[in-house]
């Protein structure tokens, strides 16, 4: 569906994206991952022809970006914004006009989507009367209404409450079932891990990891201990045989050095923690990212 080859973009002296390549297939949810400022949004803007790349080739089913391919894409930008003074339905129909949809068709579909998101009774309200989460739903509708085979969503889940996050995830799965290609960017690794079939991890403008999620995880072996416990797990970082440990309030992910016996680590935990669950499997994306980049993922700060 989409192919990005050797994309490079610089802003005056800063290299925002450097030699980024990936492919996205139909029926696939593709996670574009990386910390803030990694170059995710720049990549997305280049795909959408909002930015002209310095070099690199972007094709849609083999075709470069043009007036026809433009309508193949639906886009949800990172910054949420709509015409505040305009009515919901009018706003949605404006964007469908721009995509060249016939009005009656657009109206019917818009009402279906509004129904789905529980906003049908507010179709003629002004956008500014809606909550932020609801505005985000409207914006989402504007990006999918013309039924594009490729959806590009920049941080689609930020600002949504858990209920609506689930709603969006369901819709994503549905669209995937229908054979659409969905690219979504996020800096939340756990979310990407749950949702995506394939991923591309970008750090400082470069691809550091890519491929299907299963394959990536297999590549990093299954020598990771996932534990849940009660007590203070801070000491786990310094247990012999532990290469790296991510310690949370009631859980930890422990990356074991090769040839280290799980039993010896358990022995060290005995008596210091009340163990609830213990599992040896492949590492989480978060942990893989740390291994690859060698530094913690920076969350917060300025968006790219």
């Amino acid at each position: 569906m989409l192919s990005v080859q050797h994309l490079r973009k610089t802003f005056s002296t800063v290299v925002a994206v450097d030699d980024v390549s990936f492919d996205v297939q139909r029926g696939e949810i593709f996670g574009l991952l990386g910390p803030n400022g990694a170059g995710k949004t720049t990549t997305i803007r280049a795909i959408l022809n909002i930015l002209l790349p310095d070099s690199g080739i972007i094709t849609f089913d083999g075709q470069p970006f043009n007036a026809q391919t433009r309508n193949l894409v639906g886009y949800l930008p990172e910054e949420r914004g709509l015409y505040r003074k305009s009515r919901l339905l009018d706003t949605i129909l404006y964007f469908s006009d721009l995509r060249g949809m016939p009005r009656h068709d657009a109206k019917r579909k818009a009402m279906l989507w509004l129904e789905r998101f529980g906003l049908a009774d507010r179709a003629n309200r002004k956008v500014e009367e809606l909550s932020k989460g609801n505005q985000q739903k409207v914006q989402f509708i504007t990006s999918v209404l013309h039924n594009p085979p490729l959806l590009i969503m920049d941080e689609p889940f930020t600002g949504l409450d858990p209920v609506n996050q689930l709603l969006f995830q369901d819709v994503f799965q549905e669209l995937r079932q229908q054979g659409k290609a969905i690219i979504f960017s996020t800096h939340q690794m756990d979310q990407a891990e749950r949702l995506s079939d394939s991923l591309c991890l970008i750090n400082r403008g470069r691809v550091v990891l890519g491929g299907s999620v299963r394959e990536v995880k297999q590549r990093y072996g299954s020598n990771t201990l996932h534990v849940e416990f009660e007590g203070d797990g801070e000491f786990l970082r310094s247990v012999p045989g532990v290469r790296r440990a991510m310690v949370y309030a009631n859980a930890a992910e422990i990356d074991l050095a090769p040839d280290v016996k799980v039993s010896s680590v358990i022995h060290d935990m005995n008596g210091r923690l009340e163990l609830r669950k213990l599992e040896l499997r492949e590492p989480s994306l978060q942990s893989i990212f740390l291994q690859v980049v060698g530094e913690p993922v920076v969350t917060g700060g300025t968006p790219s």
């Binding site: 990172e78 910054e79 949420r80 914004g81 006009d97």
Partner: protein, 417 residues
């Protein structure tokens, strides 16, 4: 083209629906009429009650006649005299300082509105001073002046042995009636300065309102879309050129809706009151200039507005553009006096001034055909140039956030488009 129309339709409908548009539609003509007519009406309003004024006549020859004439010549609607005049002192004797102090006191107490102080002699060196707390009543002042002048002139005539009746006969009142001739010498149109001035003035105000109104709307809509990043979705759905063209088209439609509405109001008023505003033969040429002028400024507004990121910056930039538009309005009077002067002609050839300068010149004296053709040609060329440049700036500018570009960067955008 379909996308251009989609944008145009959106911009048009969304703006027409706003309260601001509806208010502007009705309020603007009211304000314009109010500003043009009300002050005049109020200033020339007749007095309702008699006003008391005084006179200190050091010549001793004027006082009685002044009182008589002022009281008899000007009456209130109720037939009672408009002015009640008191002779405060007469003749060169007596202490002037004291007389004035007393009269000043009366003015301050409100006993009289003001008083005339006539010094010197009637024959040679008469000087008159009007002293009052309110010196803005120019109706009163012009009446006092007229009365005094007549009296002094009559006194002088009499002293030289000229019959006062003869003098009255000699002083003819003349109204000059102007007739405008065309180059071929035929009588083309009768009218006076005011009608001509009004035609040009109305045209300029309409162009001004339209350009400023839609220019600001244009800039504001770009800035809104930039600040909420809708623009990213827009340019991923249509090309920047289509977006820009759609905006210009939609907001032009909005402006012309306004103008049409106001013109209809104007025509209705014309029919009702029998005022002729624009001679129809010139209207066609003026409309061409009108449209060209609008397009030129639309391009300029886009070029100036699209790199901006805040409403404040936009207001600053648009107010500078408004200043350029104001130049011809300031020049209106000198241009009316000598519409063929070289400097006026030169100004006519500056594209940003062409429409308004032509609006001034055409009703007064039709410029040479080559001037019309050359200025229209020049405007078409500059519109083309400005639109191309604006398109290039727009394409980059609408996606810019943060610090705006400097002039050098802007020029680079234009060159590398």
């Amino acid at each position: 083209m379909k996308k251009v129309l989609a944008v145009a339709r959106w911009e048009y409908i969304e703006k027409v629906r706003t309260k601001a548009f509806l208010i502007g539609l009705f309020l603007t003509p009211l304000i314009m009429i109010g500003m043009g007519v009300l002050p005049g009406l109020l200033a020339t309003q007749e007095d309702r009650a008699s006003k008391s004024i005084g006179i200190i006549d050091r010549t001793g020859e004027i006082g009685a006649a002044f009182i008589e004439r002022l009281q008899n010549n000007y009456t209130l609607p109720s037939k009672s005299p408009n002015y009640l005049v008191q002779l405060l002192a007469s003749g060169p004797t007596g202490d002037l300082e004291q007389q004035m102090a007393r009269a000043d006191g009366m003015v301050k107490d409100g006993a009289i509105e003001g008083y005339c102080l006539v010094r010197g002699t009637t024959l040679a060196d008469t000087t008159v001073e009007y002293r009052s707390l309110a010196v803005g009543d120019f109706v009163l002042q012009s009446r006092v002046e007229e009365t005094l002048r007549t009296i002094v002139a009559e006194r002088r005539a009499m002293l030289r042995g000229i019959d006062a009746n003869l003098l009255r006969e000699l002083r003819v009142k003349l109204d000059i009636h102007t007739t405008k001739l065309s180059k071929t010498g035929e009588k083309e149109q009768e009218g006076d300065f005011l009608t001509t001035f009004f035609s040009a003035y109305v045209f300029m105000m309409m162009l001004f309102t339209l350009i400023v109104g839609s220019g600001q709307a244009l800039v504001r809509s770009v800035i809104e879309e930039k600040s909420n990043r809708i623009v990213e979705v827009l340019v991923s759905s249509c090309s920047p050129t289509e977006l820009m063209a759609g905006k210009v088209l939609g907001l032009s439609g909005l402006g012309f809706t306004q103008i049409t509405f106001w013109t209809l109001l104007g025509v209705a008023a014309t029919v009702k009151f029998g005022i002729q505003i624009v001679p129809p033969a010139n209207a066609a040429i003026l409309i061409i200039y009108f449209i060209l002028g609008y397009l030129l400024y639309a391009g300029i507004f886009i070029a100036a507005g699209s790199p901006l990121t805040t409403e404040q910056a936009a207001q600053q930039v648009t107010s500078y553009l408004v200043l350029i538009l104001l130049i011809p309005i300031v020049l209106a009077f000198p241009a009316m006096k000598s519409p063929d002067a070289l400097w006026i002609r030169i100004l006519t050839f500056i594209p940003v001034l062409t429409p308004t300068m032509m609006a001034l010149r055409i009703p007064i004296q039709m410029p040479e055909p080559w001037e019309i053709l050359a200025t229209i040609g020049l405007m078409v060329l500059s519109i083309w140039g400005v639109m191309v440049a604006a398109g290039r700036i727009f394409r980059i500018g609408i996606l810019m956030t943060g610090k705006g570009p400097n002039l050098a960067e802007l020029l680079r955008w234009i060159r590398t488009g």
